[in-house]
């Protein structure tokens, strides 16, 4: 099939063995990227092993649109066994690595085993080697990239790597691409560290072929034209995801003690970043959105910092939720995480918990190595981030992530630990936007809004008519109502699974108020591959992917209905101020929402587990068999 290289690269670090295999059997069933990764993980990684066991796999993947003329076609997918939740982890990152991997000749890269000593992988077109990494082990991500670039001068290589956090097996560790793009979720940086794998360097010259190049490029041009007309494109170009921030925009405050930051939000709006620090707009591969920006700080405490970033999760995580309305501090935290290879969301959830525990006197300076974790103490926050990466002192506890840290500390600190399925939460609007919250709570990777949460609630141009036409419910723009929200989440989680498997960015789509919908991606897929597909067929694959992920979680951890609830705080403590004052998640309404969600998915309402009927309809025989064997399949006729 065109659009693919047709090969996957398999590297066994324990056996020092490099091999290739045809990728077509996987691509034909699951498109690419996340879908293929989920399938390989399910079939080849026992749910019983530790995520840091050498038998765990790192499955990097591209999709049929990666590296092509399709808009924003630079996405890299990663699937592995999740260090934080214990179930499945999938992550998706931008930059320039994924197209290069494909140009080097591989759709997917699977790494297993553990090297005897620190190594990096060099993939130069078809030639692959395992190289000594002693000269970069211990270096941060930025130093690592600089040293490797110097070594491969003039060769235009693309690099992904881990920092000290991954080397030290911090559960908050991630993988960084091109210095500032993260494969964030699931402690995947620690999986890389556990394999003694410091970096992957790739370079390639082989182009991607299309089944019908002329009509494919026409379809790409149509997609770009649609995006030019989109509200989402204008907003992202203006200031990335932080362009949405205003005093009425829901932001978490002081570890979710409130859900509104009021006028403090004005201090971290995109126009402030732009005026004070922005030097340049920046884009990922073939992306017209340029939602990223470069910044340079020329005065004050953080003088000399040059970095790329920052997206809204940085503003939430280090701005409002730590209650520091200082854009320079946000940039400092964001870039420190990128340098050390730390996942911003998990770090933020962990820090905010520690600060609130200090406020509530659960933690004292005796616990925190003398650091005064008082809201607004910038130095303490930055010091803690560093300690987490190096597992130094109190940082060794925090390196377990918020769910791990609260278990170690005890002392009723659980009450302030904001996580779902052990995964730290860095979100706004959980008490306000019902589908947003449901998508986070049911996310197969443990948390985060990039599974099933729609981004439409509270967005003015998503009228009931637009909502009905696109999603089959009229309420996508209305945040408060529970009506229609289960159906909306089911729609978006399938859509996202497809996008992650195609190898393009979710920001090009309906999700980010852009104009590309499933029909557009079906056309792009059909024209690059030559295999005709429609929206319904794509969505069926999306549902299959989600069910594989769900089953892996059920087999690994046994997550059930109870694990699909948000932390008590969101149900017991309403928003205290602002235009959404008084809003909270009503437990009865949440229960009904879950009932509806499970019913739509043909899952068992009581347990939240999958049924035989659901898996038969989706033709997932092996998944059904494994669940049945584990006694975790619900029979519908009983």
């Amino acid at each position: 099939m065109k659009g693919y290289t047709g090969k996957m690269l398999r590297i066994d670090l324990s056996a020092n063995k490099i091999s290739t295999a045809p990728s077509a059997p996987y691509n034909e069933n699951f498109i690419g990227g996340r879908g293929v990764g989920a399938s390989i993980l399910f079939n080849h990684v026992s749910p019983e092993i530790s995520s840091l066991d050498p038998k765990n796999l790192l499955i990097f993947g591209t999709g049929p649109l990666t590296g092509t003329a399709a808009p924003s076609s630079g996405r890299l997918s990663l699937v592995t066994k999740n260090v934080v939740s214990g179930g499945i982890a999938y992550s998706n990152g931008g930059g320039y690595f994924a197209p290069e991997l494909k140009y080097a000749g591989f759709d997917h890269l699977i790494i297993l085993g553990k090297a005897n000593s620190p190594i990096y992988l060099l993939i130069d077109n078809g030639k692959v080697s395992i190289e000594d990494a002693s000269f970069i082990w211990g270096k941060d991500v930025w130093e690592t990239e600089d040293i490797i670039e110097d070594r491969f001068l003039g060769q235009d290589v693309q690099i992904l790597s881990i920092g000290p956090a991954g080397e030290n097996l911090s559960k908050t560790a991630c993988i960084i691409i091109n210095k500032a793009r993260a494969l964030g979720f699931g402690g995947c940086g620690a999986v890389m560290g556990s394999k003694n794998l410091k970096a992957i360097v790739v370079r390639g010259d082989k182009p991607v072929e299309a089944a019908d190049p002329c009509s494919f490029i026409e379809e790409c041009r149509n997609s770009f034209k649609k995006m030019e007309k989109s509200i989402g494109t204008a907003l992202l170009r203006q200031g990335g995801t932080i362009a949405k921030i205003n005093p009425n925009f829901p932001l978490p405050v002081r570890n979710y003690q409130d859900g509104n930051w009021g006028d403090k939000a004005l201090k971290v709006k995109e126009n402030v970043f732009k005026k004070l620090y922005e030097t340049k707009r920046s884009a990922c591969f073939n992306c017209p959105l340029s939602c990223s920006h470069f910044y340079s700080i020329k005065e004050g405490k953080y003088t000399g910092l040059e970095c790329e970033g920052v997206q809204i999760n940085g503003v939430r995580g280090f701005g409002s939720n730590l209650d520091v309305p200082d854009p320079a501090f946000i940039l400092a935290c964001n870039s420190l995480c990128n340098k050390l290879g730390l996942h911003i969301d998990e770090i933020s959830a962990t820090l905010c918990w520690a600060f609130e525990c200090f406020e509530k006197k659960i933690l004292t300076v005796k616990d925190t190595d003398g650091l005064e974790l008082i809201w607004g103490n910038q130095d303490a926050a930055l010091k803690l981030i560093e300690k987490i990466a190096y597992r130094n002192g109190f940082g060794d506890i925090l390196a377990e992530g918020v769910s791990g840290a609260t278990k170690i500390i005890g002392r009723n600190s659980q009450k302030y630990a904001m996580y779902i399925k052990n995964t730290g939460i860095n979100e706004g609007g959980i008490r306000i936007k019902r589908a947003w919250a449901l998508g986070i709570a049911t996310s197969t990777r443990g948390g985060g809004h990039l599974c099933g949460s729609p981004n439409s609630e509270g967005v003015k141009n998503i009228t009931p008519e637009v909502s009905q036409t696109r999603y089959g419910v009229s309420t996508a723009g209305n945040p408060i109502t529970y009506e229609g929200k289960a159906k909306l989440v089911v729609w978006f989680e399938k859509f996202k699974a497809v996008i992650d498997s195609l190898g393009v960015c979710y920001f090009t789509s309906y999700w980010q108020n852009n104009l590309l919908g499933p029909d557009d991606y079906a056309k792009l897929f059909s024209k690059i591959t030559g295999k005709s597909i429609n929206k319904e067929q794509l969505f069926k694959i999306g549902e299959q992917i989600l069910n594989i992920e769900k089953a892996y979680n059920t087999l690994s951890v046994g997550f059930n209905r109870e694990d699909d609830f948000p932390p008590e705080r969101f149900m017991n403590e309403p928003v205290k101020s602002g235009s959404f004052k008084g809003e909270y998640i009503d437990k009865n309404s949440w229960n009904k929402l879950l009932d509806e969600y499970y019913s739509l998915k043909e899952w068992d309402v009581k347990s939240g587990w999958q049924t035989d009927k659901c898996l038969e309809d989706l033709e997932l025989a092996e998944v059904k068999k494994q669940l049945e064997k584990a006694g975790r399949l619900i029979k519908t006729d009983e």
Binding site: Y96, W142, D150, G154, N178, A210, P213, K280
Partner: protein
């Protein structure tokens, strides 16, 4: 030797193409022009066949670019494909 100088000088020949101009302050480094150019030459999708080369410094976003002598100003195309593909309007024809 300066790192970026060496990176570029190794492979590429000329800083300018007579009829094309680039405003690097607008360039976001997305490489859409390279993909469009490769398509023009080979009807496939990649970077290696492009007559324009973009280098982005991941530290500060600074852009350097070069044209190779294979640029034919999109002979037989209706428009210059690199210019058409550039969403940030960094590329244009010299008048």
């Amino acid at each position: 030797m300066n790192k970026k100088d060496s990176k570029i000088k190794k492979s590429y020949e000329r800083p300018e193409r007579e009829l094309l101009k680039m405003d690097i302050s607008k360039c976001t480094g997305c490489r859409s022009c390279e993909i469009a150019c490769t398509y023009h030459h080979y009807k496939n999708f990649g970077l290696a066949g492009s007559s324009i080369k973009i280098f982005r410094d991941n530290k500060n976003g600074e852009i350097e670019y070069f044209f190779t002598n294979t640029c034919d100003l999109c002979k037989n195309e209706q428009n210059s494909l690199c210019i058409e593909a550039c969403s940030s309007h960094a590329l244009s024809l010299k008048r």
